[in-house]
Structure formats: structure tokens, C-alpha cells
Symmetry: C2
Subunit: 596 residues, 2 copies
């Protein structure tokens, strides 16, 4: 090693030691003829001094000229800092290294921005110069955390006898689910590989092959139009087990959550993690990934609404729809009439026609512009259902089940944050179970699998597969962290007949099923064990554990929302010869230039 120590390592006990340090010039200060350099590496920051008597004027001048972010090597002796000059915030803050000379290993040109600057430039510039952006302590912390989380996961599953098996990246396209990324074959003209959307079928095959417990940190790919928190390639912790039920998988992941929270954040998580059924989650929170860091549960007041004179409530209730509400504690003072109007506009984005509201007054009565339409006893009943206290704001949607779910979910999420109802550092993990097997595709009116077509129904709902698909629940479970889906899995169908029946329900005829999934159906015929698994979103986990909100901050080299890598300028133009070899011609209007 060129260095004897890192820039985070030296302490008082090293005083007097001759050391060699390497690192980046974070800062330098010229004080009374001596140059003080903050020398930085991944491990920390050490103060390096070039001054008399150790250094002569030539070296001091040289140090004065070194540009920030240059890479230098210094040899010197560790010394106590002068009294009053120590820095308690710095692990190395009691010492400095006094050097006779410095060697510039690589001078830095004037960079477009420096990692230390507080007013960061726009994300595009940071992505173009990612090697500078990645020097920022926040990015280093996030990626170190990511490495730790993944290591913790791998260790945990190794302790539980899982085998890490790599599944192919060059696979077969199946026109299910999202759009595939395709890879043209040179050897087989007109044929294409597809990058995997998940290792789903391979891991099921591994169970049929008797591997019993499989795990992989797997790269997955989806050619979708990108939302803020999606990337064309993403990482999932993927696992599968044989001879298990849903409880076994959830219990296993409970242990992982607790271990990761403890080892990575030093936090205790009490087990088992709470479990909600899908129905309960929709009823209490209006969503299948509720944020349980705070209460503010949805309350159904339809029965009272029916009895009131308020036209909107009564008409809704009479039509078989719902009046549901949430209570914003302390919201009466926090939200002015104007702000409540703004909340009304907000819920309209989710299909609501309006937002009714009541304030709980000091004397405990409810007041609202529409309160004259309510009997005092009905108001009392509503207050009691919502457990309203003086100062609370009660907010109501009267609409279809779906709209009340969506609207109140969004409202709850917004108010929870605005009213600071939770500790932003808290980590709340839970399960949502017993999802419906199917949902209707709104465009085609056909059944689609809510998870994927390999999901097993609850044993008790097996006969509903044919008699009442809508009511058929799946052996499915999603892990929710702080209101984000952080993983999802199912017990799979392990007999070929049920699998064929599900394909049929999904409108996949026998021939199509054989063409697309023949090898899976085959595998199910030759001794498939009962099995199930889960996939955890690694990028999402890291983001939530790090308390970050932009997924690109936890990925070393992310793509933009247009799926570009601004540093390498991928995707790029290729030679026509390369396309010819792949038996392809581009239909792009004209061959774009390499820099476009």
C-alpha cells in the first residue's frame, strides 16, 4: 500500500508516529506561512500541515498551489494539535500530520462542482460527472449502507441453509406483465433473448429440482415508462422454499427485518410483525400498503349518514355507496378554511366530488358550514365513532368504495406528514395478506392475476376458482415498510391441473400456455413439491433504511427517467455492421449522430 494509514484512522495515541497518507484535498487554508490541508478519503478527514520547521518555503508554496480535489501523498509525523485548535466533531480532530513535503499523485482540473459544496447543481450535471457526485458524503453513506444491507441479507439466508444460485440474464421473452428488454441473437436470426423481469420461473424450477431453499440478489429489468421511483434495471432479493406455507415465509422475513434493523440501524423491531388482511387494510387505511407509523384510521359512518338530513350523505348511503371519514388530530387550528378548500381540490384528483368536514369545538360540539343539516344526536354519534376531541378536524368522503379508499388514503398520507404524526426516523414494517387472486382489467374486462399467474389460491377458496373468481383469495403476502411495498410473495401452484385452470381463467388457452410456459407445466408433471417464496425490493429497502426519497441516491450509476446514463451516454449509436450481424435494420428516421 502506498499509505500506512487511512485518513480516518489516526488518534492521540499515534502522536510521534511517522505515517504516509493518501487522499483528496478537501480544503486548504493558509495561516501564517503554513498551509493546512483537510485530506479526505472514504474513511475520514485528517488535517495535514505543511509549514516550518518541517517544510521549507518551496514545499509550502507547492502546497499552497495544489487545487482542491487533487490526489496527494504526504509523509510526516503525527502531532497534537495546538490547544484550542482541536475539533471534537472529527474523529481525527485531536491530531494533525506535520509534513516536510507533499507529492501530487494527480492534479485536479477545475471541476464543474465540488463534493463539499452546499448548493448542489441540478441532478443532470451530477449524473454526468457521477465520479464527483459519488464523492459526496451522503452518496458514500448510502452506498456503504446498501452494501451492508445486502451483506446482512446474504449472511442471514446462508445461516438458514439457503443456496445462492445464479439464474440467467439472457432468457426467454414471455409477453406477460411488463414490457421486456430484448437482446437480438446473432446465431439464431430473427430470435431474441429477453432480460428477466424476475427469476420467477427459474426459481420454481429450482424447487422442482429439489434445491429446497434458493436465494439470489437478482438483477431484474422492465422496459416501462419510468416513474420517479422506478429504474429500468433494479435489484431484488429473491428467494424460494419448498414444503412451506405463507406463515413460514413471513416468519423467515420477520427475522430478516429484525436482524437488518438491528445490525444496520441499531434499532429493535418487535416480532412478529403485524399482519393485516387485504380487506382489513382497505377498510382501515384505504390501501394495500398502509403507513402504520401513525393511526388516523378510516371510519365508516354510512349508517349514521343514512339518518341525517344532509343530502349528499343520505343519497350516497341510499345508493349503496359509502361515507367514510378520518380524524386529523389538532387539525382544526392547523387548517384554515382556505386550506381546507385546497384539501378539497386535492381529493378531487382521486375522483372525489367533494370533501365534507367538521371542526370539534372547544365545548366538544361539531361545527361545519353544513352542520345545520345534522341533528345534534347524529353529530354526537359521528364524533363518537371518530373519537373526536376538541381541536380535531374530521374529514368525510361520500362516494364509491374505491373512491373513498383512494381519496382518504391520499388525505391520510398528506395530513400524517403535515401534522407530523410520526417520527420520520421510525421504521414500521408489517404484512398485508390474503390478496384477491384476480382483478378485472378495466380496458378489456378480462381477469388478470393480481400477483402473477403462478400464485396458489387459499386452500379454503380453491372451489371459488370456478364458482366465484372475484371472491377467491390468494396465498399472497406483501411486506410494507413505512407505507411502501418493500416486497411481495406467494405460495405457488404446484400441481399442473390447478395451474392449467388458472391459465384458462386468465384467458390463456392450452396451446398458448404450452408455448409460453411448457417447461414449467412439464416440471409440474415430474414431481414438483409444494413451494413458495418472496422477492424484496433491495433499492426500496435501502432507500427506506437510509431515510432517502430518491431511488437514484441509492444506486451508483442510475438511469434518468428517460432511461439514459448521462455519464457514459448510454444508450448509444452502434455501427451498421453490428446491426447487420444481428440480422436487423433500424427504422429510426435517420441514423442519429453519436452525440445526440
Amino acid at each position: 500500500m502506498l499509505r500506512t494509514h487511512t485518513c480516518g484512522q489516526l488518534r492521540k495515541e499515534h502522536v510521534g508516529t511517522e505515517v504516509t497518507l493518501c487522499g483528496w484535498v478537501e480544503n486548504k487554508r493558509d495561516h501564517g506561512g503554513a498551509v493546512f490541508i483537510d485530506l479526505r478519503d472514504r474513511y475520514g478527514l485528517t488535517q495535514v500541515v505543511l509549514g516550518p520547521p518541517e517544510a521549507d518555503q518551496t514545499q509550502i508554496d507547492k502546497a499552497g498551489r495544489v487545487a482542491n480535489e487533487s490526489v496527494i501523498l504526504v509523509r510526516g509525523k503525527v502531532a497534537n494539535r495546538l490547544e484550542g485548535k482541536t475539533n471534537e466533531k472529527l474523529a481525527t480532530g485531536e491530531i494533525e500530520v506535520r509534513c516536510p513535503e507533499l507529492e501530487v499523485l494527480n492534479a485536479c482540473q477545475t471541476p464543474p462542482f465540488t463534493p463539499g459544496q452546499t448548493d448542489l447543481p441540478g441532478e443532470d450535471l451530477r449524473l454526468k460527472y457521477r465520479f464527483l457526485d459519488l464523492r459526496r458524503p451522503e452518496m458514500q453513506r448510502a452506498l456503504v449502507l446498501r452494501s451492508k444491507i445486502i451483506k446482512t441479507m446474504r449472511d442471514y439466508f446462508a445461516e438458514h441453509q439457503f443456496i445462492d444460485v445464479e439464474t440467467p440474464i439472457l432468457g426467454r421473452s414471455t409477453p406477460e406483465g411488463a414490457r421486456d428488454y430484448l437482446v437480438p441473437s446473432r446465431v439464431h436470426p430473427g430470435h431474441f433473448y429477453a432480460l428477466p423481469q424476475s427469476p420467477q420461473l427459474y426459481k420454481q424450477i429450482l424447487m422442482v429440482a429439489g434445491f429446497d431453499r434458493y436465494v439470489q440478489v437478482a438483477k431484474c429489468f422492465r422496459d416501462e415508462d419510468l416513474r420517479a421511483d422506478r429504474q429500468p434495471e433494479f435489484t431484488q432479493l429473491d428467494l424460494e422454499m419448498s414444503f412451506v406455507d405463507a406463515d413460514d415465509i413471513m416468519g423467515l422475513i420477520d427475522g430478516l427485518v429484525a436482524k437488518t434493523a438491528k445490525e444496520v440501524l441499531g434499532k429493535d423491531v418487535s416480532l412478529p410483525l403485524p399482519r393485516l388482511t387485504y380487506d382489513e387494510a382497505m377498510r382501515r387505511f384505504g390501501h394495500d400498503a398502509p403507513d402504520l407509523r401513525f393511526g388516523m384510521e378510516i371510519v365508516d359512518v354510512t349508517e349514521v349518514a343514512k339518518k341525517t338530513e344532509f343530502r349528499v350523505f343520505r343519497a350516497t348511503a341510499d345508493a349503496g355507496n359509502f361515507v367514510r371519514a378520518i380524524r386529523a388530530p389538532g387539525g382544526a387550528e392547523k387548517y384554515s378554511r382556505r386550506q381546507i378548500d385546497e384539501l378539497t381540490e386535492f381529493v378531487k384528483e382521486y375522483g372525489a366530488k367533494g370533501l365534507a368536514w367538521f371542526r370539534v369545538e372547544e365545548d366538544g360540539t361539531l361545527w361545519s358550514p353544513v352542520s345545520k343539516n345534522f341533528d345534534a344526536s347524529h353529530l354526537e354519534e359521528i364524533k363518537s365513532l371518530l373519537q373526536g376531541e376538541p381541536g380535531d378536524l374530521l374529514l368525510f368522503l361520500a362516494d364509491s368504495w374505491d373512491v373513498t379508499c383512494k381519496g382518504l388514503y391520499a388525505l391520510r398520507k398528506r395530513l400524517g406528514a403535515e401534522l407530523k404524526l410520526y417520527d420520520p426516523d421510525a421504521l414500521h414494517c408489517s404484512w398485508v395478506t390474503e390478496f384477491p387472486m384476480f382483478e378485472r382489467d378495466e380496458e378489456s374486462g378480462r381477469w388478470v392475476a393480481m400477483h402473477h399467474p403462478f400464485t396458489a389460491p387459499l386452500a379454503s377458496d380453491l372451489e371459488k376458482l370456478e364458482s366465484d373468481p372475484q371472491a377467491c383469495r390468494a396465498q399472497a403476502y406483501d411486506l410494507v415498510i413505512n407505507g411502501s411495498e418493500a416486497g411481495g410473495g406467494t405460495i405457488r401452484i404446484h400441481d399442473q391441473k390447478t395451474q392449467s385452470k388458472v391459465f384458462e381463467l386468465l384467458g390463456i388457452d392450452e396451446q398458448t400456455a404450452e408455448d409460453r410456459f411448457g417447461f414449467l407445466l412439464n416440471a409440474l408433471r415430474f414431481g414438483a413439491p409444494p413451494h413458495g417464496g418472496i422477492a424484496l425490493g433491495v433499492d426500496r429497502w435501502v432507500m427506506l433504511f437510509a431515510g432517502l426519497e430518491n431511488i437514484r441516491e441509492v444506486i451508483a450509476f442510475p438511469k434518468t427517467q428517460k432511461a439514459s446514463d448521462l455519464m457514459t451516454e448510454a444508450p448509444g449509436v452502434v455501427d451498421n455492421d453490428q446491426l447487420t450481424e444481428l440480422h436487423l435494420r433500424t427504422l429510426a428516421a435517420k441514423q442519429p449522430s453519436a452525440t445526440s
Copy 2:
């Protein structure tokens, strides 16, 4: 869990316990009205008995009808086997489980082959039914070993403060090196991503970003015509370090080799691993990845050859070429005249024009059909140089340096195996260092980088970059295990001027360099530390550690030599709509059918 124990877990101390087992029916035997089933899972084999008094005749009959490879569940009591019926070869061989009934979880149709059968079908059938093939104990062992080796590697680097960073799979095509796999972009018409041949540039960027120590088990891709031991996608343990020299990297990997050999095979490896320079390797073994499990080094006898009357030797030596030889211990008896003729044909494949040979007779004299052309003193000199002993066979090539290297390397490899000069279970690891920076491309006559264009020259050879590129040696090191290249790395160029000079030498002009590697050149301008790294071939490591010779035996779902996955039938045909969305048209003669 459906089961209480695995099939490899029960021992004498469990006798009397009620257990539930799940697994595959490996075998069954009908003995005197009772059915004995060998129940198998990943962990072992347990004998299960359905017979009186526990089971009634209906259950016994049912057991008798269960097809091999079906998945069953049994509940029963652990019992001692009858005296004389224990099986010492089996970990569970002292007990059996006596069951009142069995439940068939999934019946197996008649499979095309069974994992237990000794006469395996051809590899194509095994790959098509990979879920059966992977049940073979050899495959399970290989993949468990693979998982262990990778875990050992990851643990080792975590202990050494490496950060595991994922680099992109969707990258930028650079027309260096092998052929890229391309991925058309939907969002950017006419633009393509490329799958990485290695994370080389990303890991250098990570060093420029100050990550100091990076590691990744990385998937890499090359669209090459496949040789027996190559796959279109392969796995490498990829790492990079800052502020190091070649010794640091080799020392680090020495530790990894020792740890892996110890933990995975229980073998001790003494460190440091031997190191040879490239020149020495070529001189002593004729190859840059010599098998050091045995001696049989190449000896240069050109000086003696010059003095003899043997025309071939003298002409070769006079022309400035070489006469080099190896000694096959005990080869005189082993190889008949006819077999030596066969060896002559063998070396001709490597460009040799013939093969001269001598037998060391009982009395210590050398004999050959051409020995009359040699003075006794010259023969004595040759014998002495080769340290010939009675019974040895001495084999000579007289040719250019290259041909003698290639021919004698091949001959040594063949004879080493045929004469059983080494323990096939032995593991011999070593380093070859100081490779030439450049070699001439035979077709174009241009310089090409022997490793890659980011390799730094030896500091002492820096000035030869311009004055004598041929003599310029690189800071490069290859890890060799049992005569196979198992890894290779270099110290990289960290200053932009040297990098530009190397590009220039390789005929990459300034504009092209900026277009292709602009972001790297940029990174080198903004504070790049000295750095270097290595990539280890994980598939190769597993193959060598497992003592296997076919790389497809250490990969769960490998491709054939035509880059096909026979199980999923990838690559496959895709809808024209998918191509249109990607702005592409296929030039394949006609759209092939989905089953071709």
C-alpha cells in the same frame, strides 16, 4: 413447515420420535408385504417403511403404486433398523421411519430419465429437462460448492473493508475487445445499450469517486462463438483498490485462495503463491498459464545443438531459432515407436515440423534413430542438461521460439496426464506477472493491448512506451490454477496523459478516444488515485475446485454451444409489434416459427 425433519437429519437418538418427512421417492422395494421407500431431499436419504403393523393393506398397496420421483409426505415413528439391515454408507443408515400412511403431494409421470440412473442420456436431453438433471447428486454438489465458494469470497472481501457495489447491466457499447450483446432502446430510436463485457470502466470510476475498495460478483457477457469452456454470460469476482501496487493485489488474492481452499476443500495452501514472470513462464513451460502440479520443464539445448552433426538441430540453431526439449520420466517404456510417431503428429498440430527423441538406456547412454549424428560427448551434455535417468524419454523440438513454446507446452500437458505425473486432486495456484503491454495483431500488424488499454506499464518501462513498445512490460498479473487462467488483473493508468499515449499507440485517435472513453478521460482529469484490480473467473474457480471439466456442470441453467437454453427455448421469436416498438425490423429470411 410441512416437515419436522429433513431426509438427512434423523439418527439413532431420534428413535421413538414422531416425525413428518417430505421428499422424492428415489426407489422403492417390496419385501414380504411391506414397502420400503428411499425418501430423498437435498440433505440426504431416509428409509421409510409402510408395512404391518403400522400400515394397513390399503396404504401398503398405495405405497406400492407410487411412481419414482413423486413427491410424498409421510408421518411416522423413527425406529432402529433390524440387525444386519443397517447401512453404514448412509448418515441415516441406522434408522428407518415406520409410517401408517403416506400422502402423495405430487405424482410424477414417467420421466425421460431419472436422476439416479447410471447410464445418463445425452447432454441435450438433460438440458431440456434440467429440473430432473439438477436432481442428480453431482449437480447438487457442484451448485452447493459454487454457493459456498462465492459466500467465502464475499465474506473475505467484507472482512477487508470492500464495498459491494452493483454496476449497470444496461451500458454503453464500446467496439473494443469481444462482440457486445446489444439491447435496443424503445425510448431512443436507433440507440442501443450493450451488456457489459466486464465492469472495467465503472470500477475505475468508483476509484476516482473515492470508494477505495470495490468488489462485486458480476455478470459479464460476450457474444463470441462458444468454445467448450465459454458461456455467453459468465460470472466474475471483480474488484478494484486504490493506492496499491501489484504486490498488494496478489497478496490479497493469496489470502483468498488459502481461505477458499481451506474452508471449501479443507486443504492447506502455503503462501505466498509462487510467482513467475511472463518471460520465465514461456522459457520454462512455453505458456503463460503453466500447470505447476508437475515438473517436466522445458530445457534449451540450442548451444549443444549447434555443435552436433545433426542437420536439423544445427540448421535451426544457426538460423537463430531454438532447440528445446522436455524429459518424460519413465517415458521410454511407456511410449512405443508407434506411439512416438503419434506424438509427432500431435506436435505438428502446433506448427512443428517434426519431433526428435532419445531414449535413456539402462546403461545411461542415449539412443535414437538419429543418434549416429551425435558425438558421445554431445549426447552426454544433452543428457546432463535434461537430467536424464535410465528409462526416460527425451523429446525435442527445433523451431522458432513460438512453435517450440506451443508444441512443448501441449506435449508437456499431454504427457503429464498420460504419465500420471500429478495428483488429479491437487490444487496448484500461482501467479504470472510482467506481461508484455502489447502484442501485434497478426492480420492488421497493429499493436493491440495484451490485457486492455487501461493497463499501466511497469514504472521502469515507462519510457519504452514510445521508444520500444514491444519491450514494454505491463503491471499485469494472472492467477493460474492447475494450468488454467483463473483470474487476471492490472494496475491501471491513472493519469490522463499516459492514457492518451496508450490510446495513440493502439491507433485510437483523439476524437475516437473522446467519443468512446470520454467519461474515463474526464474522470482521470478530476483527481484519479493510483488504482488497480483483478477479475477472477468464478465459473472456472468452481470447476477447478470441484474437479470438473465441463463448465456447464457448475452453472444451473447454462447455454449450449449455440447459445441456446434448451429448457426455455431461448432465444425465441417475438411479436412483430415488439420489434416495431423498438424501431427495428428483422432481416431474417422469414419470420421463423415459434418452435424452431
